[in-house]
């Protein structure tokens, strides 16, 4: 392998579209999310830090990284220290498989869609571990709820994400994007139900209202994040923002054609940002309109309504492919 190839790989992993670019994007999406949420509530949201408040998430992150890091004496030290780092690593691993600047991602292989669904389950398992390791009653309840919520959203989300894969005849996210670019149409046209279910599922993954049951502030303080402070909390928040980039990027790649668009002159990254900001806007708007569901409502509702609807979507796709 020549040094140019190594240098290019390092550049694409570390800088663009790798870690530094993704962190900047994550902070930007947190700002978009907070502004949309505030405007829907007739507020302004952060707008005194930097131009229009753009630097507010960065200020929060730096402040948390520089704060005292308290480790309560009762916590399980290994889990407590490892959880934020593991969560951040998992999100970066998942993000490397989402096409961001061109039709192919940094890492792609046949079957990486299944791998991504598996990683999304691990987010909830890590939340449960973090809650368990904190040995705090609020953290424990939050972790339990995070694990229980997985039972609700995981199956319909996985089935609805498989829809575009059936259409494209491949299980690789990059190949699905390439197929949509080649065919010249977005799979949301045949997958409207699947798109709706995927939006509901990703809201449950990133744990915001109406599915913020694991960190319900009015009931269980801050859920499984209660005991985390200082730089551990900063890393958790950064991981949460990166999850937002990841899930919106995944939905864009599968349903909305990924980083390609009708006007070929505009580069792929611009299309990616436009489409994902639309998804973040939808999530922020839903966050402002709804109240929190109870955990039993969430689980039974998703098994009663979302699972049959997602299977109906698959049946429709199969009928379309047979015609």
């Amino acid at each position: 392998m020549s040094w140019q190839v190594v240098a290019y790989d390092l550049f694409s992993v570390l800088i663009y579209p790798g870690i530094i670019f993704l962190v900047a994007l994550a902070l930007f999406y947190q700002w978009v999310d907070r502004r949309v949420y505030a405007r829907a509530q007739n507020r302004y949201g952060p707008h005194h830090t930097g131009p229009r408040g753009l630097l507010q998430p960065l200020a929060d992150l730096i402040k948390l990284l520089a704060k005292e890091d308290i480790e309560p004496s009762a916590v399980d030290k290994m889990i407590f220290r490892a959880a934020p780092i593991l969560l951040l690593t998992l999100v970066f691993t998942a993000l490397f498989m989402v096409p961001i600047s061109g039709t192919s991602a940094i890492v792609s292989f046949e079957g990486d869609l299944i791998f991504l669904i598996f990683i999304m389950t691990l987010f909830a398992i890590l939340a449960f571990l973090a809650g368990w390791g904190s040995t705090n009653r609020f953290s424990l309840v939050g972790g339990m709820r995070a694990a229980l919520q997985t039972l609700g959203y995981e199956v319909p989300l996985a089935v609805s994400l498989i829809g575009p894969a059936i259409l494209a005849g491949t299980l690789s996210v990059s190949n699905i994007v390439a197929w949509q670019a080649a065919e010249g149409f977005w799979s949301i046209l045949l997958n409207p139900l699947g798109f709706g279910i995927a939006i509901i599922g990703i809201i449950a993954i990133i744990e915001v209202v109406p599915f913020d049951i694991p960190e319900a502030e009015t009931e269980i303080v801050a859920g499984w994040q209660t005991e985390f402070s200082g730089r551990k909390l900063g890393l958790l928040r950064l991981a949460h923002d990166l999850e937002l980039v990841f899930v919106s990027g995944l939905v864009v790649a599968l349903f909305l054609g990924g980083p390609t668009g009708p006007i070929p002159l505009i580069p792929g990254i611009i299309w990616f940002i436009i489409k994902t900001v639309i998804i973040v806007f939808i999530i922020g708007f839903i966050r402002a309109q709804f109240a929190r569901f109870r955990i039993d409502q969430m689980v039974s509702g998703s098994w009663k309504y979302l699972v049959p609807l997602s299977i109906l979507q698959i049946i429709i796709l199969q009928l379309y492919l047979m015609i």
Partner: protein, 140 residues
């Protein structure tokens, strides 16, 4: 410019603790978070857990019952931390001065950085107090 100091000034997260008040101050505090005054403009968010907070915002005179719990909450806030005494009761005991069951004010139990008098103080007063606190922090 010191970037850590800048970030501290720009994002003070608030934890709200009621140490035996009558809820008047708490309602004024919530008004400061709501659309009309919206202190999230300055980066202030209300957090549920003291482990996440920078500013401990206390209302009410400290009753003997809550004193130990209050001290424990104070210890749970990570450094650097600031305490804001909100309302007459929190500043000096207010109308409950010389009662048998209260400590007269927050500063008898934990060190206080900023006093906001009033019964209850207006939401503008909390913004004013926050600005003074952060200005002092910036100049330190």
């Amino acid at each position: 410019m010191d970037i850590v100091k800048w970030s501290r000034v720009k994002s003070p997260w608030v934890f709200h603790f009621n140490a035996g008040g009558c809820n008047g101050c708490d309602i004024e505090l919530l008004a400061a978070l709501n659309p009309k005054f919206d202190i999230e403009r300055f980066g202030m968010i209300l957090r549920g857990s003291p482990r996440h907070a920078d500013v401990l915002l206390c209302t009410g005179t400290v009753t003997r019952q809550i004193r130990d719990r209050f001290k424990r909450i104070y210890d749970q806030v990570p450094e650097p931390k600031f305490v804001m005494a909100f309302g007459n009761c929190a500043c000096s005991g207010g109308v409950f001065q010389k009662c048998y069951n209260v400590h007269e004010g927050i500063d008898k139990v934990v060190p206080v950085n900023m006093y906001v008098p009033g019964c209850p103080p207006r939401p503008q007063a909390i913004i004013d107090a926050a600005v003074k606190l952060l200005t002092a922090l910036q100049q330190s």
